[in-house]
Amino acid sequence: MGEFKVHRVRFFDYMPTAIRAMAFNAHTERLALGRMDGSVEIFNFADRYFQEKVIPGKDSRSIEALCWVGGRLFSAGLNGEITEYDLENLRPKYSLEAYGGPIWTITSNSQGAHLAIGCEDGTVKLFEVLEESIQFERNLDRQKGRIISLSWHPSGTQIAAGMMDMIRVFDVPTGRAVQRLLVDRGFGGSKSRETVVWSVVFLSDYTIISGDSAGKVQVWDGHTGTLVKTHLVTKWDVLALSVSKDESSVVVGTSEGTVIQFQFIAPTLQQQQDKEWVRTRTFKNHTHDVRALAEIETAIVSGGMDTQLVVRPLLEKFDERSHASALRKIQFPHRNLVFCAKKAGLLLFQFPGQLELWRLGESDGHGKPGDSLPLKRKPEKLLHLKRKGEDHICCSALSSCGGWLAYSTMSSVRLYRLQTDNNDISISKVPKLPKILRSAHQLCFSSDSSKLFAASSQSSVLVIALSQSECKYVHTLKPKSGSRQPIHLMTNSVDGKWLATANSDCEIHVYNVQKLKLHCIVPVYGSCPSAMGIHPTTNNLTMVHADQQIFEYSIVEKQYTDWSRKLQKQGLHNLWLDRDTPVTHVTFNPKNPEQILLHDMHMFCIIDQSLPLPDQKTQFYNQMTLRSLSEQERPSHLHAFKICKTFQDLLSVSLLDDQSLVMVERPLLAITCQLPAPVRQKKFAT
């Protein structure tokens, strides 16, 4: 196949922020995840945990808790506001000041009619959920001390509230506090410190389970207000609790990074009637605080300070091994944060607060495979562009010539003209952008840099013409389907004729940019596309989906290509299908039209369409074998999927016009290094 020169880039200091809250919507199988920087991510658990949507954060917004009401998502935070999100336009729909000081928690009753929030000033406030908004209804009896955690009784008539040193049970109709459960303080030095009841759950049999800062998980009788059982699970804090739908299991997250499961079971086989809450399993998948937890049908989902989302399947719920029964760690976003100017050899890194533009280095001479080449010129950071305003950057783009740069926040789009003149770089903001261009979900430049495409609301695309002198709105491309979902992928062809978009409804539209009209809709496939690209010579659209399926669609002929049909007929190799991170980039080799380049977090792959497809019996990862074979033996062992795992923790792979590859790695160890020290430093041999 051949040799490639690889720019191995590790200077993108991408740093995800800690997970603060999560809420699982069992009906839609969507998990909402709130991070410290105020961003919200929606994962589709029915589609290989694909990160479907990202609502960018905002400096002043904080998320302390998330809550679904039907398909609507609410958050509350220490800024004292309740926010409902517009999941179609990926922005807050509205924010409401609750006038109770910082809000620690938000929860809805099982009927979905009311929201309750717990405030710093000691009030539990009830809000009625209306069609388009929410409305304050009343306060429950105000208490001394902040309300940290809340849980509705499934009947909706009572609420348990976790506070400092105690738990209160309120009668919702009257608003009176009917029970006061005193929570012990910790032992020794911590005796003087108040115990924070970080989390409570109220079960339908009126059992209340609490987790507190003294490391206890306590089981209470909600009728009588008596303590049934105390489990001391950690020296540190019990931060999060989540109960399974059938109330037979409760999981607990601690500051030590452990998740501990309790199950409601009979302690002996003889006494099947006398069930009690028994500590059963401990999972250790985090290094830091587990701040957010959800026990879903078949798995425990957890997240916290160490920024990763962990899906730990409960193996007893599975009959056979499959990708669904494997532990999943979601560490990287399922979208691109790196953009490469192929002609100019520039890299653009997108951070929530800034953009960085780098020029790649140069090497001297040639080397044989495995060599590192001596550097003639080091990579250089050309630009550090801070965003304006409070809103975080949601998307950005760099033209392939390196002359244009654009980014968008929730509130504005900015376009810059870049001029690199040997070592000098000048940047000038393009003034007076068309009014219609207010915000974009995705941005991309045409390959000749004459147009900017901006994905706007309801899956529409704005076409902006660029020239030295001005920047002009041309047209809005609209899908026929009438989908209201946002576009999360956009790509155009090298010849400038075609533009393809994909939205969260899994629809892929292909537009004729010259004629400014919809050309065709690719047949909708059940899994969301995670990456796509248009071939530079054949104009075939290659799509890779979250479930790892690959399709190739001829835009000209408006049908799947023969190769794609062959691939679907034969089926992809199981080892390909079982990979646990989605392909996030598809690109091509203009010098060798047979080659499709793609990558996920753990591998880089070149698909050679001229070679036979591997069947299930073929050795799939065969590069080592091929290396060991002689030149004569090799051809009989070749197959289409050439997979290289030399590069790990990949954020981006692109092919420059000079045929060299750019691999942007972000080693997880480097992320871990930047985390604060965990609460429990592991001492020597202890």
Binding site: R10, H366, P369
Partner: protein, 594 residues
């Protein structure tokens, strides 16, 4: 290293009229390694569970009939096979109760043996040398059987080897004092005949044993004069070689038999280095005493002290059939203590002297010259035997003539490193007697097999680094240690503590080349001493200070080591971490995809 474990009795034996005849015809294994099929010399076959020493089943032929070959287990069909009255082959299963009702077939010629081994079909060897697979024979019992052997040639011993899809039947014959080995390869069938070298005495071998190692058949045989020879035959046969070939042999072991000759004895190769020998009677033991020893043939050292079977030795002796589990490891210096009732005889390796030499009568300086001449010859194989001979004679003479002692000559002999304690057991004691500590040290240093009792004797006379480094086995040292008196123990403990402290202080400054015991060896000895004398030491007032000293010292060391343990596990973690290549923030590399 080879070790014998505690023996136990599998079953009692009925003495036959003729004492020299074994009441056991054969012991074979069945599918379970813990089972033994024992055929007695008359009519019955018994299946034993060895570890429980209990019979699981017994089958007997009718009165008047006689079992003429040991019962074997057919591993393929899970059946037992036995031959009665030379011609009747009987086949039965575990669940069959009556042997008479079992399947039987009469063949046309006398059967010598039925052989069976795991992984192979049973084979029938006829008295006239013909070989048939049991299956094909039973399918046509009346088929004619050819004569392979000449008229007066009789089979003395036979065996069956199955390995790696090769199947051999080996048997030896005797005819007018001439012994031959027949190697019958099966599938394809080839027969090769070898003539064994004649022993000077004209005697025939007493016992044979064969094994397959490294694609060679190893035949081990013992003559009445105590010589154990080994012959090697390639397992891949030279097809087409006709006629009788001479079988070269090499001497593996020469057992001291004294004046007489061995009446009945057996030698079995346990592995490449170890040979087990059992025989009756033995000249150095009282009559009626059996002996069983394991010899290391590489070092000519006594390793322990036969029928080899699956890590167990089966020895019929006296009125019982004993089972002695054993274990062989390749450890050149390991010694074994004989721990079995049948082996109380103290077996030593003897050497024959051929002609009178100066060392038998000459003065010291003449002896010295002879020794120097011998040592300078440097023919290793030869030297090994002659050095042992010479040393034994010198020691014997020294013991006889009090005035005669040749320290330099003996030291030179020891330094050849061809000597060991079991070759010349008197040497170390002699040097102790003469307070020749240099020679003592040398022996302690170079002998791999000093018995614990001798070690302790050395200890009583002087304390050295060398004593601590001699190999020993706790169990056997302990009783001898008890012989030390309190003062000796205290002195020894003080010495050990001193050495330990000294070494722990300057671990890194130990002079290289100086032989010093390791920390572990020192601690082991301290433990042993305390074990042996604890109660005495507790009572002794003058040991009090030492003991409390030792206690606080041990306490501090334990603390230190627990801390070290913690560090170790952490460092181990570091070690486990893959040393990732130090990859910089940016590099340009070349990769190749295929």
């Amino acid at each position: 290293m080879a070790a014998l474990y505690e023996e136990f009795t599998l079953c009692g034996l009925v003495q036959t009229q003729n004492a020299s005849d074994s009441p056991i015809q054969g012991i074979e294994r069945d599918g379970d390694s813990d089972h033994a099929v024992v055929t007695d010399s008359t009519r019955s076959v018994t299946l034993y569970k060895v570890s429980d020493q209990k019979p699981l089943g017994s089958w007997t032929v009718k009165q008047g009939q006689l079992l003429t070959c040991p019962a074997v287990f057919n591993f393929q069909t899970k059946e037992y096979v036995v031959v009665s009255d030379n011609k009747v082959i009987r086949v039965w299963k575990d669940e069959d109760l009556n042997l008479d009702k079992a399947f039987k077939a009469t063949v046309t010629a006398d059967v010598w043996r039925v052989h069976s081994a795991p992984g192979g079909e049973p084979v029938v060897l006829f008295q006239r040398g013909a070989v048939r697979f049991l299956d094909s024979l039973l399918s046509a019992p009346q088929q004619p059987i050819e004569d392979v052997l000449s008229e007066e040639e009789v089979i003395r011993w036979s065996t069956n080897i199955v390995a790696e899809e090769q199947h051999f039947v080996l048997f030896t014959t005797e005819q007018k004092g001439e012994c031959c080995l027949y190697v019958q390869r099966l599938n394809p069938n080839t027969l090769q005949k070898y003539r064994l070298e004649r022993e000077d005495s004209g005697a025939s071998p007493l016992s044979f044993s064969a094994s397959l190692r490294d694609k060679h058949l190893n035949l081990l045989y013992l003559y009445p004069n105590g010589c154990v020879y080994q012959s090697v035959v390639a397992a891949r046969g030279y097809v087409g070689l006709e006629g009788v070939q001479a079988l070269p042999r090499s001497l593996r072991l020469r057992l001291a038999v004294g004046e007489g000759e061995l009446g009945a004895a057996s030698a079995v190769a346990l592995d490449e280095a170890h040979v087990a020998v059992v025989g009756v009677p033995h000249p150095s033991a009282r009559t009626g005493k059996d002996f069983l020893c394991i010899w290391n043939t590489n070092f000519q050292t006594l390793q322990a002290g036969i029928l080899r079977n699956w890590r167990k030795l089966f020895v019929p002796h006296g009125k019982a059939l004993s089972v002695i589990p054993y274990d062989c490891q390749n450890h050149p210096s390991g010694r074994i203590s004989i721990k079995c009732n049948c082996s109380q005889g103290n077996v030593k390796l003897g050497v024959n002297c051929v002609q009178p030499q100066p060392h038998q009568t000459g003065p010291v300086d003449e002896v010295q010259r002879e020794v120097e001449a011998l040592v300078s010859r440097g023919d290793a194989q030869d030297l090994q035997l002659s050095v042992g001979q010479l040393a034994c004679h010198l020691v014997a003479r020294s013991q006889a003539e009090t005035a005669f002692y040749t320290p330099v000559a003996l030291a030179q002999l020891v330094q050849t490193q061809f000597l060991c304690h079991s070759v010349c057991p008197g040497l170390l004691l002699l040097s102790l007697e003469h307070k020749d500590y240099f020679l003592c040290q040398l022996c302690l240093q170079l002998f791999p097999d000093i018995p614990e009792v001798v070690t302790c004797a050395c200890l009583k006379t002087f304390i050295s680094n060398e004593v601590l480094q001699t190999p020993y086995s706790d169990n056997f040292l302990l009783p001898h240690l008890k012989d030390l008196d309190t003062q000796q123990v205290i002195l020894f403990l003080q010495y050990l503590q001193f050495v330990y402290l000294k070494y722990s202080q300057d671990v890194y400054t130990q002079t290289p080349g100086l032989r010093s015991p390791t920390m572990t060896q020192i601690i082991d000895w301290v433990c042993l001493l305390l074990d042996a004398h604890f109660t005495v030491l507790v009572m002794a007032p003058d040991a009090k200070g030492l003991l409390s000293n030792l206690q606080s010292f041990v306490k501090s060391q334990v603390k230190l080591f627990s801390e070290l343990g913690k560090i170790e596990s952490s460092l181990q973690e570091l070690h486990k971490m893959k040393l990732s290549k130090d990859i910089s923030q940016y590099s340009i590399e070349v990769i190749e995809l295929f």
